[in-house]
Amino acid sequence: MAVGTEAVTPTAKRRVRGLPLSLRQVATLAGVLILVGFLALVPTLNFTQDNVFFWNEILIFVLFASSLNLLIGYTGMVSFGHAAYYGAGVYAVGVMVSKWGQDMMLVGLLFGTAVGGLLALVVGALIVRAAGLAFAILTLAFGQLAFTFVYQRNYLGGENGLAGILRGTIGPLDLGPLNNYYYFTLVIVFIAMMGIWLVVNSPLGLAMKSIREDAGRTQFLGMRVRLYKLAVFTLAGTLAGLAGSLRAYHNLFATPEELGLIRSAEPIIMSIIGGMGTFFGPVLGAIGYMWLENWLQAYTSTWIMWIGILLVAVILVFPGGLLGGLSRLRQVLRSRRPRGGWRLPWQKLHSDSMD
């Protein structure tokens, strides 16, 4: 089985004196502390409300991109329609608040999350038997179906979407003010990310990685691949639903774009930039992408071209994104293997056919 990007290398296992942790773990922990500390300080850093709104959106995308990373990065199930489950969360909250008049936020969040998960369960049950490109195209088709559905339904506001979503209270917490909601989002996203961390480091995570490496062989070893795939698809959909519910209370609008092709592409782009299949890749990718997009939009109307160029460059020059690039650099420094000179597409197709 091929070695994944997260393989523990001997040097990474080196212990720091006096601590029961490896160097790598200490560095990771420090990074997380700095990041969370910074995020916690965002509302107090003399930023405007717009900036808090912006960072709140980043937090939501961190969760959204990480949920997709479970599918694509860890399990190798490429989805081009993940926005359907995110958008289902957005619209579930929208319908609940603006149509049914339900103003209990906790109920709204749970409902949105559940709707995202249920939709993923139903769609997943139909499509997990497909693999590779077929699976990817099926997710795209279902994503577009969902988009068309909300776009067409007058009940859901058609192309205008649903307005009238309001934040309320959860127990003693008043989440009306943006700063309060920001902290609430930070806590929820942090907890969800810890959940993802636990999953990818659990036996399920191991099963996911082995499906990614070789689904056929994994099945041969007696694992029930489809069941695992369905579980991962549902989990990813649930987390996307949670991100969508948070988004509904953040933007206070439900619009069809939340299910669009671009919305499905964004978390993929974020994960590719940050490093697909690594835990922190989508986190850094989401922050980097959102920040960059925001910055470019302020300067140029052709920002999308620069995003495109960046993406082309990352895929060509830094396959594996920021984090993948780092670990690759380490590997290159360690091994003196020559680079293959002449490359044509058959290389991948035939590289496994030794004599």
Binding site: P338, G340, W342, W346, M354, D355
Partner: protein, 236 residues
């Protein structure tokens, strides 16, 4: 003069190191055979020489010229012919069309062989001219693969396990065709085989690969004189 020279050839697939410092020469007009068990590195050697996949370190010379890293189609046009283990006949093309494809390897003065000239060398193929590649038997496909390579008039032919997967009597036919070919046409042959008796019918020189390393090089006579070699490296 040496038609093909391999020096310090190291080959890799991904992170696995397959060939280790393989070096040998094939003299012009001779028939060398690369012997070895399954997985010894015979096909990888050919693919490395032909630049078809593995990452390679080392040097490959074709009639004295360094051709390391040259793309396969240029190698073919410079006279390196390759008949792969799995033959790779174009199933959707007729026998004649398959033969004409071999002509693309030809670019020096003169002209590639016409199908009729090929049929003179391989009379068995003649009645099959209009048949599609996918409809041929294994033995017929093997003959066609060799014939297709000859159309481009190669100076060196890399012939990978022609006897593989053929019933003994069919393998005999293929062998007869190859032997008459050696008598009637002029090229240098590098053959990969694990079937020793098949190979010995054609070989003038023997090289033995084991686990990616070249463990023996010598003439056919010297190899035959030492039966211990066969039991040591080649018996299953």
């Amino acid at each position: 003069m040496s038609a093909l020279t391999v020096r310090n050839l190291n080959s890799y697939y991904g992170s696995s190191h397959i060939l280790w410092n393989v070096a040998f020469d094939v003299e012009e007009g001779t028939s060398a055979v690369l012997l070895g068990r399954n997985g010894a590195g015979k096909t990888t050697s050919f693919k490395s020489i032909m630049n078809l996949g593995p990452s390679v370190r080392g040097r490959i010379l074709l009639r004295g010229e360094d051709v390391t890293g040259v793309p396969p189609h240029r190698l073919a046009r410079r006279g390196m012919g390759y008949v792969p283990e799995d033959r790779r006949i174009y199933a959707g093309f007729s026998v004649t069309e398959n033969l004409r494809l071999g002509g693309f390897a030809f670019s020096s003065n003169g002209r590639p062989m016409e199908p009729d000239e090929v049929f003179d060398l391989f009379p068995l193929l003649k009645p099959l001219a209009a048949r599609r590649g996918g409809q041929l038997s294994g033995g017929e496909q093997q003959l066609l693969a060799v014939a297709r390579c000859l159309v481009g008039r190669p100076s060196v032919m890399l012939l990978d396990e022609p006897s593989e997967g053929l019933a003994p009597v069919i393998a005999r036919n293929v062998l007869d065709a190859l032997r008459s070919l050696r008598e009637n046409t002029d090229f240098t042959l590098l053959l990969a085989e694990q079937n020793v008796s098949f190979a010995m019918n054609l070989a003038t020189h023997v090289h033995v690969l084991e686990q990616g390393e070249l463990v023996y090089s010598g003439t056919k006579e010297a190899f035959d004189a030492d039966p211990a070699l066969k039991t040591r490296y080649l018996s299953l």
